[in-house]
């Protein structure tokens, strides 16, 4: 099987409100998949279901080879997650944070040392090892959080608005990290409100009112809607100025 994520009519309801409506998508292994949508369109809910944090009401989702409803723990072991809200412990030093997360995923301690050295070298951040995370500039925290989220070599990493409020240079460095990660075969599933970042994805989906209104490569999407940027495509679909290009069934 070559898909990192496969969903079939995945639905999540809260009472009478359908947050995710029959989501059917396939995300390929090693792909950078941009998961776009307006506020309240159901992105966060869908992401929580895919991460095994929330049970779907109906439908199926296979993530990293396992059914999220039946075997959420197997899914969780094979994925990494980084949220828009910074997820490292500010009161711990950089290396203590790395060790903590490595320990949570059961990395053998002999390997932690060598791997965390490699991680800091790759980030060009070796001098930061003994700093408290809360003293780091916001951009560094974000990059570090990302590196920690993929420390256990997950099959898929979920990034929930990873670059919110990050300065322009760091934001680009962050995307270079994403590219390198995808190059190593890790699937990247990312949400963002920066539409220029959507252009960096292999494929993007645009969610409107709980449904996928479009799913394509940025270039094909722009061609089909005859617009110059993904930003324009997004606005057309979210406002309902263009009819959905993608049907679930």
């Amino acid at each position: 099987m070559d898909n990192a994520i496969t969903t079939e009519s995945l639905t999540k309801r809260f009472g009478t409100f359908t947050a995710v409506d029959r989501l059917t998508i396939e995300v390929k292994r090693g792909e950078i998949f941009g998961f776009l949508g307006a506020n309240g369109a159901g992105k966060t809910t869908a992401m929580r279901v895919l991460c095994g944090l929330s049970k779907p009401t109906s439908g199926r989702a296979i993530v990293a080879g396992h059914d999220v409803a039946a075997r959420p723990d197997s899914v969780k072991r094979r994925i990494g997650y980084m949220s828009q809200r910074f997820s490292l412990y500010g009161e711990l030093k950089v290396w203590e944070n790395i060790r903590l997360y490595a320990g949570i995923y059961g990395t053998p301690s002999a390997r932690i040392k060598e791997r965390s050295d490699a991680l800091l070298r790759e980030l060009d951040f070796e001098e930061g090892r003994d700093k408290l995370v809360r003293d780091l500039p916001p951009g560094w925290k974000q990059k570090l959080a990302f590196s920690v989220a993929i420390f256990h070599e997950p099959e898929i990493v979920f990034l929930d608005e990873p670059t919110g409020g990050v300065d322009p240079v760091t934001r680009r460095q962050f995307w270079e990290l994403i590219y390198r990660t995808a190059g190593r075969g890790i699937t990247v599933f990312v949400t963002t409100h920066y539409m220029d970042e959507a252009e960096y994805c292999d494929r993007v989906s645009i969610m409107v009112d709980g449904r996928i209104a479009a799913l394509d490569s940025p270039r094909a999407l722009k061609e089909r809607l005859r617009v110059a940027t993904v930003d324009d495509a997004f606005k057309m679909l979210a406002r309902g100025d263009a009819s959905p290009l993608y049907t679930n069934n």
Partner: protein, 305 residues
């Protein structure tokens, strides 16, 4: 006669050993829509809190509507509408009750100033009996703006009103700001989204407690003083690496579906294209384009550092 609504002169603010503002100066005229553009931690919120008279500065002077933020803060407050970055209304009160409360707090009534908020509040009317906690992100922002406006202030300080908001709601929000500006309200708004600079009359690029540059978006682009080469090809990540490695390119960053390269002096666009094609890149397109605000920010930031 000085017509500046907001005047800041060398404001310094420290939190412990951290210098959040390192002496910033600025003057905003009546009816201007002014943007503070910069990433998190640049000092935007701190400056707005100083101006909203919530935070005393450690140095420098600031005047709002001609009054000193330090000495005359009590007279300033009724004139100012402040919207903090975080949602700061009562989650257990309804939409209506929140608006009513903030009107009363400023000795005003919803009725007398309704015209000012009508356009925004109409979106909220179907939910007026709903508790604020149950609103969506975009609706919360709208309600917060209504509450900041309901006492008819002459100056608005909006701290990152569009952060985490999707592009459609963001566009709508800026349209509302434009309408308020036309009513003569002076607006000082902060944002981390550089592309929103073009929606402001003037902006300050903020980084690490300092202003990198201040002016109209056009002035700032002119001050950048150079054209940018935008490039694209079939394999964007590889193209980025190859462009950076080429001596014709001083620096290069990804910008959506293009890469923006700052050419070295004496570089030739045509020869750069040939070089890239020689490296095996297909569908290579390189063209000269004026820089955008984000290019300027990156360049000024690298000069500062």
């Amino acid at each position: 006669m000085n017509m500046a609504t907001v005047e800041i002169d060398g404001i310094v603010k420290r939190f412990g050993t951290v210098e959040a503002l390192r002496g910033v100066s600025l003057s905003v005229s009546r009816g201007e829509l002014f943007g503070l553009i910069g990433p998190d931690g640049a000092g935007k919120s701190t400056l707005l809190r100083v101006l909203a008279t919530l935070l005393p500065a450690d140095g420098g002077k600031a005047r709002v509507e001609g009054m000193d933020v330090e000495k005359e803060y009590r007279q300033i407050r009724p004139r100012v509408g402040y919207m903090p970055a975080r949602f700061s209304l009562y989650p257990d009160l309804t939409v209506e009750e929140n608006l009513q409360l903030f009107a009363t707090v400023f000795h005003a009534t919803v009725e007398e100033n309704y015209a000012l908020v009508r356009e925004i509040y109409e979106h909220l009317l179907p939910f007026k009996k709903r508790r604020a906690a149950a609103l969506s992100g975009g609706m919360k922002q709208k309600l917060a703006l209504c509450c900041a406006l309901i006492h008819a202030p002459s100056v608005l300080f909006l701290d990152e009103p569009t952060t985490g908001v999707d592009p459609v709601s963001r566009e709508e929000f800026w349209r509302v700001l434009g309408a308020l500006k036309r009513r003569g309200i002076t607006i000082l708004v902060s944002t981390p989204y550089m592309d929103e600079a073009r929606l402001c009359d003037r902006v300050a690029l903020v980084r690490a407690g300092r202003f990198l540059d201040t002016g109209t978006p056009t002035e700032i682009v002119e001050r950048h003083g150079r054209m940018i080469w935008a490039a694209r090809g079939h394999d964007m990540p590889a193209l980025l690496a190859d462009l950076r490695a080429h001596p014709f390119v001083e620096s290069c960053f990804a910008f959506g579906d293009w890469h923006h390269a700052t050419p070295s002096p004496g570089a030739s666009l045509a020869r750069l294209r040939e070089a890239m094609e020689a490296l095996g890149h297909r569908e290579v397109e390189i063209r000269e384009t004026p820089p955008c605000i984000e290019d300027c920010f990156i360049r000024f930031a690298s000069c500062q550092a």
